[in-house]
């Protein structure tokens, strides 16, 4: 989940207060974004959050109801899809079923009126890059899902677009292939220097691919940041909840200092101590979000007075690399804790119905407004 070096290039795509309405329904609501050259920008959100509509507006298949889209400084309002410097990889791949792989890839170049020899050369080059040279004469229905995905990618990239739009690029692949393809995509993107805008509902996919993520909810962008920022410093309860799993406690501020705060949560016996200040009114209701992997678990009571809770293990899910524990606190609240399985077998491992203490570092919780 580490962030790759962000090419701090010039702004390439500018979305200014774009709104799209379908009748009474507002699919995209006042979205403004600035995407830099060479980025992989992921639009992440659940179904119906407007991410695909936003992508389709960039491609030119939908017209914004209000606002402007600029690509490379040029207003796209009057420019039809077939004249935009943009290519799209469709979720269904939309390969032409009556054409061979080579004809599919050549289609875009033929529209540019290039010489036949040039087209053939570039198609061959592109098929080489996506490792489909041996499949050039196959029809799409004779290919596997992964191969179709690569044809779709080759067909979009062969036009050498400055901006590639990818709609759920890995959605139709199985898990193993998806992971492998994610890294192939990143390599390809770095090699070709194309700006990617990726739409996905899969947070893992967004985390691996993206240099920056824009989280969308109900047609609005709720947070933009690097994967680390989004995961470690979510700015809202929605983002914290949507990305990864999180334990959320409601409480009120009892101590508010510039360098730390103390929060009393009804569901926790001990107060929550957070080692950074927040901007909130005194006694304000706040939300404390703690990631499951940031919570430690022990049989003995830690020698601290803050950031500790007692409970009983109710469920254990062994996932291989980690184990997920569901602990019922004395107040009745269930808390999710993940512990990495660093050792192969230990008798020390905590089992069902054991009484445990949970504790976390003062830097671990994120404080959000309700």
């Amino acid at each position: 989940m580490s962030d790759r070096t962000i090419d701090r290039g010039a702004e390439y795509v500018r979305i200014e207060a774009v709104t799209k309405r379908f009748g009474d329904f507002v699919a995209v609501d006042q979205v403004s974004l600035s995407i830099k050259r060479g980025e992989i920008f992921c639009l992440l959100g659940g179904s119906g959050c407007g991410k695909t509509t936003l992508l389709r507006m960039l491609a030119g298949f939908e017209t914004p109801s209000a606002g402007r889209i600029l690509i490379d400084g040029q207003d796209m309002a009057a420019i039809p899809p077939y004249e935009r410097p943009v290519n799209m990889m469709f979720q269904s791949y939309a390969l032409f079923p009556h054409m061979t792989v080579a004809r599919n890839v050549a289609f875009g170049l033929e529209q540019e009126g290039l010489a036949k020899a040039d087209i053939e050369r570039r198609v061959q080059e592109m098929l080489e890059i996506v490792q489909l040279r041996d499949y050039a004469q196959r029809k799409p229905h004779q290919l596997s899902g992964g191969q179709r995905q690569r044809v779709a990618l080759a067909r979009a990239l062969v036009k050498r677009p400055k901006l590639l739009l990818l709609d759920e690029p890995l959605g139709a692949l199985d898990k193993k292939l998806r992971e492998q393809t994610q890294f192939e995509l990143i390599n390809l993107q770095e090699k070709l220097g194309v700006t990617f805008i990726v739409v996905t509902h899969d947070q893992e996919e967004a985390m691996t691919l993206a240099t920056r993520i824009g989280v969308m909810n109900k047609g609005q962008i709720v947070q933009v940041g690097t994967p680390t920022e989004i995961y470690e410093f979510p700015n809202s309860r929605f983002v914290a909840d949507f990305i990864g799993s999180v334990n959320i406690f409601e409480g009120s501020l009892v101590e508010d200092e510039p360098d730390h705060v103390r929060i009393r949560c009804e569901e926790l016996d001990a107060p929550v101590f957070v080692s950074h200040g927040i901007s909130a009114a005194p006694e304000a209701r706040v939300v404390v979000a703690i990631r499951p992997e940031k919570i430690g678990m022990s049989r003995d009571r830690p020698t601290v007075t803050d950031n500790v809770a007692h409970g009983v293990v109710k469920e254990i899910a062994y996932m291989g690399d980690i184990s997920v524990y569901l602990v019922r606190l004395d107040g009745g609240r269930m808390v999710r804790v993940t512990i990495p399985n660093t050792e192969r077998q230990t008798d020390e491992r905590i089992v069902w119905d054991e009484s445990v203490y949970l504790s976390w570092q003062p830097a671990a919780p994120v404080v959000l407004s309700t």
Partner: protein, 307 residues
């Protein structure tokens, strides 16, 4: 027999054979057997008797042997008399031209229906099928009233002042084309619609995204993908149009017959069953070719749909 028992029998090996067997038995009884009879008659000689043809197998006069008489004269007659070749050629020309006109009119209509909103789509399809609710004969007769010299078309044209004298519309090739195109247009539109309606519209978006203008996208994506529909529609119009009897009889020229009329005249007016049978066999064999083409495309479409 209870319903459950019936279900059980139908699901079994025996039941399956029955289910498949029924339509085959139908085809055998009402197509293959009559075809063989007609095929047999086409090799006979005409006789003024009942039935009006000579038997193919006869006992010799001494009663000891069977004699088979294969008379190829009927087929030779079809080639020798230029009437038949000219009639065949004319029928094929009329059918081919009508098919092309149906395609030219039907394709845009099918396309428009397939792209219409779902709620309007069913209404439009209903309108295409609606004429079938009136008798075919009646609808062709209606064209007589429209096209005759003091018919609706001429009266309107005269009233508007486009012409000073009524045009001869009825009993011309034009009237035959109008009749056939009018009658068979639904058979072109329906298979085309069912093909076009299934098209994945994201393919057109993909084409636009790759730089194809709408016309290019149509020619390179929609048109090639609709070929099975075009073939199906053309054959459904062409095959019955070749043998069409009613329309040319009511609307067509009297000096140029179509093959369906010749067939019926030979059977009923001349009572020359052998020659009529030969005409029928030639017509059938001539149409078999397009039917085979049709089946090949149909198989291909089924395969494509399975993907």
């Amino acid at each position: 027999m209870t319903l459950a028992r019936l279900k059980e029998i139908l699901a079994g090996e025996y039941g399956r054979r029955v289910v498949i067997g029924v339509p085959y038995a139908w085809l055998l009884a009402f197509f293959v057997v009559p075809f063989l009879i007609v095929f047999k008659i086409s090799f006979s000689e005409v006789r003024f008797s009942m039935p009006p043809y000579a038997p193919l197998f006869e006992l010799t006069e001494d009663g000891a042997h069977w004699r088979a008489i294969f008379n190829l004269g009927n087929y030779h007659y079809l080639i020798a008399d230029s009437l038949y070749i000219a009639t065949f050629a004319y029928s094929i020309k009329v059918a081919a031209v009508s098919t092309l006109i149906c395609l030219a009119i039907g394709y845009p209509m099918a396309y428009a229906i397939a792209r219409a909103r779902e709620s309007t789509r069913n209404l439009l399809l209903m309108l295409i099928v609606l004429p079938f609710w009136t008798s075919f004969l009646l609808r062709v007769y209606a064209w007589v009233g429209l096209l005759q010299n003091d018919g609706v078309v001429n009266n309107v044209l005269l009233a508007v002042g486009l012409i000073d004298q009524p045009l001869t519309l009825l009993y011309t090739d034009f009237a035959v084309y109008v009749g056939i195109v009018y009658s068979y247009l639904p058979f072109m539109i329906l298979p085309l619609y069912s093909n076009l309606e299934k098209h994945d519209l994201t393919l057109l978006e993909a084409a636009a995204d790759l730089g194809a203008r709408p016309m290019t996208a149509f020619l390179r994506i929609t048109l090639p993908l609709s070929i099975p529909g075009i073939v199906a529609g053309c054959l459904l119009v062409f095959i019955p149009a070749v043998g069409e009897y009613v329309i040319p009889s009511l609307l067509g020229r009297s000096d140029q017959l179509m093959i369906g009329r010749v067939l019926s005249d030979e059977f009923f007016a001349n009572r020359d069953w052998p020659v009529a049978s030969a005409v029928a066999i030639v017509l059938l064999v001539g149409l078999l070719l397009p039917i085979l083409v049709f089946q090949r495309y149909q198989n291909r479409e089924i395969e494509a749909a399975r993907r």
